[in-house]
């Protein structure tokens, strides 16, 4: 399946409260009209593989629900929150602007995180599970001692995370250092540090594994490495650390 970009090409022009259908190129004509802003809406990216392609590690049923229901819901609610934000900003309604922040963080974060997650996974026959080589491989050995030590650390932190959240392998692009971090709910990795770039993330919300692994999150974590797409993680790493 082709991988579409995150941002759809559909754009909406929002006129201000004046109710006029201003074109997106409208400028401030000095007539007292405010800028018309474009609001980008987001749509569900296609998975780069079939729903059943990650079996038996992650079942097709989970992949379909996770993608078509959970991720889609985050996108729908993110778009809704952005629209409300836009209206509130246009009206100068500060209390609504601030009130919407948690919905934007949650739903926008959900969209960001899941978009990365689909790329972090790949079927075994397409290289899933193959450990990283070259610069990322060396960086892992340098920072964690060995690839196995890294996996162990991520699994431990992922299993210990209470409630819902994510466990990440990130790159601190300023310090040029790899880190393992967890975030709660749908907080993106940047909430743990503005310089952190996610290389790979593992969703440890129960919906990510429950139908198959039930309460045994450690089994899910142990197995998910078999479909880990280290090629993608290496690409991200090499872009930041050429």
């Amino acid at each position: 399946m082709a991988l579409r970009t995150l941002i759809s090409s559909s754009r909406q022009t929002l006129a201000t409260g004046l109710g006029l259908g201003l074109q997106s190129e409208a400028r401030n004509l000095g007539l007292g009209f405010r800028h018309a802003r474009e609001l980008q809406t987001f749509s569900l990216p296609d998975l780069p593989y079939d729903y059943s392609a990650l079996e038996p590690v992650i079942s097709g049923e989970i992949m379909q629900l996770h993608h078509q229901k959970h991720h889609q819901t985050y996108i729908t609610n993110y778009n809704k929150a952005l629209e409300q934000l836009d209206e509130a900003m246009a009206k100068g309604d500060s209390s609504t602007v601030v009130k919407l922040q948690s919905a934007i963080k949650f739903n926008g974060g959900g969209h960001i995180n899941h978009s990365i997650f689909w790329k972090n996974l790949t079927p075994i026959r397409e290289g899933g599970g193959e450990p990283p080589k070259h610069s990322l491989g060396w960086a892992i050995d340098t920072h964690f001692g060995s690839f196995e030590a890294l996996v162990q650390k991520i699994n431990t932190e992922g299993a210990a995370l209470q409630g819902s959240g994510w466990v990440w392998l990130g790159l601190d692009k300023e310090m040029k250092r790899l880190v393992v971090e967890t975030t709660a709910n749908q907080d993106p990795l940047v909430t743990k540090g503005a310089n952190l770039v996610p290389l790979l993330g593992i969703d440890v919300w129960e919906h990510a594994y429950y139908l198959q692994y039930k309460n045994v999150r450690p089994d899910y974590l142990k197995n998910v490495w078999k479909v880990m797409n280290w090629k993608f993680a290496s690409e991200v790493y090499e872009k930041e650390c050429p």
Partner: protein, 264 residues
């Protein structure tokens, strides 16, 4: 002293299982004798406190088809039991937490918002005990007279309460619980959302019913259809009997109306 009032639930309530093989949740002293005691050695005995796993006051298939036996088996048998065993293991190492009732343990480990490591397990044992008892076979419909009056007073109407409850369940971010609780300072009922294992008792409020919104509570039966789950709970599972008993007990602690002071 072992306490039988480890949750706001009168021991005489008909909702307690009459089958006494159900383990009572009291803190017990367990003296472990080291091997070789018989041979006259006076080694120190190890003292452990532990809590027991309470069983739901109905069979695991009694809530079908609204909450499947499979869900109860895993939710109670694995998750709830897991929290309990985790708690007991933590308590083995930490004698300063020995001897509390479950209510007290939850509040102490909450530590005014800086939870100790034991809080998660203790709180989740408490919340799940409370949750099983917040449901009953043939539940749902509308509350009994006293609770209904209070709900109408504090929410305007039962319908409005329902809407607020459902809205809270659908707008909770992440894992957590939805409560109908009596706020002790405001002296009124309110719908409360909490995250992970937090319970309103840590703030001194009195919970009346609860709904588990962790995904493990509904995913096997409803997948991601939270709307259906919450509605099924309100229509068919919520135990207004338990709510009545809890409200009755709460009124010993909170004055909901004018106090009736007897005139000599």
């Amino acid at each position: 002293m072992a306490s039988f009032c480890s949750r706001p639930f009168p021991a005489s309530s008909h909702l307690l299982a009459t089958d006494f093989s159900r383990p009572l949740k009291i803190s017990k002293l367990l003296y472990l004798q080291r091997k070789g005691q018989f041979h006259g050695s006076q080694r120190a005995s190890k003292v452990l406190a532990f809590y027991g796993l309470t069983t739901p006051p109905y069979n695991l298939d009694a809530l079908e088809p609204y909450m499947s036996q499979r869900t109860l088996e895993i939710h109670w048998g694995k998750h709830h039991r897991g929290y309990l065993e985790g708690l007991n293991k933590q308590l083995e190492n930490n004698n300063s937490l020995y001897g509390y009732t479950m209510d007290e343990l939850v509040k102490v480990t909450y530590n005014n918002g800086n939870p100790l490591p034991e809080f998660n397990n203790a709180a989740q044992v408490w919340t799940h005990d409370f949750f099983w008892e917040s449901m009953q076979p043939g539940g749902g419909k509308i509350p009994g007279h006293g609770v209904l009056l209070q709900i109408e007073k504090d929410f305007g109407s039962f319908t409005n309460f329902r809407e607020k409850f459902i809205e809270a369940a659908l707008t909770l971010f992440g894992s957590g619980w939805i409560w109908l609780a009596l706020k002790t300072k405001e002296k009124r009922l309110a719908v409360i959302k909490t995250s992970n294992g937090v319970t309103p008792i840590v703030w001194g409020d009195i919970p009346i019913i609860s709904l588990d919104m962790w995904e493990h509570a509904y995913y096997l039966d409803y997948k991601n259809d939270k709307v259906k789950y919450v509605n099924m709970f309100l229509n068919n599972l919520v135990s207004w009997n338990a709510a009545t008993a809890r409200m009755a007990r709460a009124e010993a602690f909170v004055n909901l109306g004018e106090p009736k002071i007897p005139v000599a």
